[in-house]
């Protein structure tokens, strides 16, 4: 076992895959001698060569298109987009090309690309270093969207994503990159995609979250338990698309109360999808309104970001509302 934070777990997964499989290539801006602006690829170019850990021209659309071409020819390409806020120039390559190659070719041409990118707020990054655009990609058939919330999952999910034959958008919660360490196996292991994880058992309310919001959700669940004697079940979704609806449905049938916690804007965010699922599948079990705690429908703010992000207090308020309903 080793004690690693999320960032180190990501690097460890990349190291293992570069070691295991000569078809794995990394490419991105500043990922070479600089090791990435967050240091996720530190030391990897030195170890595997500039031909496999490639510093690229500053062009996100080019990085993704280049990775798609490599993958068509048989590589497992793992591009890094420095901040997910810079992914939009590559949106056409992701949505029109990456997500559709298998389908449009009748299964003949496939694109094993895992796009890694730090996402999320709370780092004093303002509009362009803080966004959480997972819903845009979850709305695109053909992509998998994966978001870890802890070091163990970060390593196991990233290895699974690279080995998966489908394109994956792998969003890394940068606010908690170095927030805490966890004992994880030193060797190679995987965590399955499309499988949620029940991280706290409870009978009263189901809370679903993922990524950096999971910490706030767990904090709220602990306070609810200690101070209000409300026992929340907390589900870490881990894969946003295609997602594990069964785990959520089973939990909500038991609790009859549901809150999703996501940091992206509210309207048409991923919480809306989860609310619709509950509305369609478990309405007979519901004891209270289906709730969302989200960011607001504004461009990501700067100095007021902590008022924007779902805090434990805001989650507790939603818990209180539906408990008292």
């Amino acid at each position: 076992m080793v004690e690693l934070n999320i960032l180190e777990a990501v690097r460890d997964a990349l190291d293992i895959e570069l070691q295991n499989d000569p078809s794995v290539y990394l490419m991105g801006e500043d990922i070479g001698p600089n090791g990435g602006v967050f240091r996720a690829t530190e030391g990897l170019q030195e170890k595997y060569g500039a031909h496999r850990v490639m510093d690229t021209p500053l062009n996100e659309s080019g990085i993704v298109g280049f990775a798609i071409g490599m993958a068509l020819r048989g590589a497992k390409a793992v591009p890094e987009i420095q901040f997910v806020d810079f992914i939009y120039p590559a949106f056409d390559q992701i949505v029109s090309e990456l997500a559709k190659f298998r389908y449009r070719s009748g299964g003949e041409f496939t694109t094993n690309v895992t796009i890694r990118s730090p996402y999320g707020g709370g780092v004093r990054g303002a509009h362009y270093h803080s966004q959480s655009p997972e819903a845009l990609f979850a709305h695109t058939p053909g992509l998998k969207v994966v978001i870890p919330s802890n070091p163990y999952d970060a390593k196991g999910l990233l290895i699974s994503s690279i080995r998966d034959n489908n394109p994956v958008i792998f969003l890394e919660p940068k606010r908690i990159y170095r927030a805490f360490k966890q004992e994880i196996p030193e060797e190679d292991y995987t965590v399955p995609l499309e499988k949620a994880n029940i991280v706290r058992n409870g009978d009263d309310i189901t809370l679903v979250s993922y990524g950096s919001m999971l910490q706030n959700t767990l904090e709220a669940a602990e306070i609810a338990s200690n101070e209000l004697s409300i026992n929340c079940e907390v589900i870490d979704l881990r894969t946003i698309s295609p997602y594990d609806s069964q785990t959520i449905i089973s939990s909500v049938k038991k609790t009859g109360r549901f809150i999703s916690v996501t940091e992206s804007p509210k309207t048409a965010g991923f919480g809306a999808e989860l609310s619709a699922l509950i509305g369609e599948k478990t309405i007979d079990s519901m004891e209270a309104p289906i709730m969302r705690v989200t960011g607001y429908d504004v461009p990501f703010p700067f100095i007021l970001e902590h008022d924007y992000l779902p805090s434990a207090d805001r989650i507790l308020s939603a818990i209180d509302t539906i408990w008292e309903y």
Partner: protein, 355 residues
């Protein structure tokens, strides 16, 4: 501008005439004829309402020379008028025609507009419809190919409009930086649907754009199949000597409309089309073959009749086939069907009758 064949089929300068086996030259010619016939029949089928769409290729058949310069292991990234490259690589006409009808035997499972097909068996990649996106794919594929098979090069086709796209910039810039064995062929037919070249770029030539990327650029007569072949042969040599990519501007003209939905009389004069008729790539190559005694007018008619009959028969067979199965709406989104798609498939089955 590189040019080998005169309009009368004679050679400008014997020193630059590529030396090619007779049988191979005839294969080029037969590929051109099949493509021309498919173009004529495709639009008729569209006008009859038997297929939904048609993309014209007449006038641009000399791209077959570019494909002929490659080895079969080299990947081709077409735009959407390079079906001749697939024919040259022996993609069976049945497969192309089944694709036009999007029937149950279509290798792309009835998911694409007629003409936008790909075929893994011949390393002919599925194009999309957003313009230029394949240019950077070709660069990435060539980069990985250079890592695992130093003999390999690949080729990407795109139109003059695509040179304005961001992916053109990405593709040439990355290729220049990594010196990838990529051959970029701009089929400059001088119109992006209706927009003429001078509204697309202020560069003197498209080949000039190579200078900014630090790569080799060359203008070629895009209606001269021998020039296309020899330009690509030189580009292959250039790549295999470690000098990286080449941008080839093939100067040509689209004789037909952009697609079955386009009316070119709105944006170009008939006289211009008439002028380009004199430069027809098939007629010019035929004259060359006649001069070399490889074909006679009579044999030429036999070839046309042979393919005309064959294609007509294949059309009737393809048209009688059923649509692809309902399940093909859901397969290949991912390698396996997630629960959400299984559920949606069940739903559509309930509303659809299928044997």
């Amino acid at each position: 501008m590189r040019k080998i064949l005169q309009l009368d089929g004679s050679i400008i300068n014997e020193a630059i005439e590529p030396s090619i086996e007779s049988e191979e030259l005839l294969k080029w010619y037969q590929s051109m004829i099949q493509l021309r016939l498919l173009d004529q029949k495709g639009i008729r089928l569209q006008r009859q309402g038997r297929v939904g769409f048609h993309i014209f290729t007449t006038g641009q058949e000399a791209h077959i020379g570019a494909a002929a310069a490659l080895n079969n292991q080299d990947w081709i990234f077409p735009a959407y008028r390079e079906h001749g490259a697939a024919i040259y690589r022996d993609m069976p006409l049945e497969e192309i025609i089944n694709h036009l009808f999007a029937n149950d035997l279509d290798i792309n499972k009835g998911r694409r507009l007629p003409g936008l097909f790909g075929n893994k068996k011949i390393n002919f990649v599925n194009p999309s419809a957003p313009i230029g996106t394949q240019i950077i794919h070709a660069t990435g594929a060539a980069y990985y190919a250079s890592q695992i098979n130093p003999e390999e090069v690949n080729i990407v086709f795109f139109g003059d409009g695509a040179t304005s796209s961001s992916d053109f910039h990405s593709g040439l810039n990355f290729a220049g930086v990594y010196k990838t064995p990529t051959i970029f062929i701009c089929m400059n037919n001088q119109f992006a649907i209706s927009v003429p070249l001078e509204k697309q770029t202020a560069s003197n030539t498209i080949a000039d754009k190579a200078i900014a990327y630090g790569i080799k650029g060359e203008q070629v007569d895009g209606n001269d199949i021998l020039a296309m072949y020899s330009a690509v042969k030189d580009a292959i040599k250039h790549a295999q000597n470690g000098n990286g990519p080449t941008l080839i501007e093939a100067f040509t003209y689209r004789m037909g409309p952009h697609t079955s939905s386009d009316d070119p009389s709105r944006y170009r004069p008939d006289e211009e089309v008439e002028e380009w008729k004199l430069k027809d790539p098939i007629e010019r190559f035929k004259k060359y073959l006649i001069r070399k005694d490889l074909i006679s007018e009579e044999e030429n008619s036999i070839i046309y009749e042979h393919y005309d009959k064959k294609i007509n028969e294949l059309i009737e067979i393809a048209d009688s086939r059923p649509k692809p199965k309902l399940e093909t709406m859901f397969t290949d989104v991912y390698d396996t069907l997630p629960g959400s798609l299984l559920e949606q498939w069940e739903e559509v089955k309930f509303f659809t009758e299928e044997d």
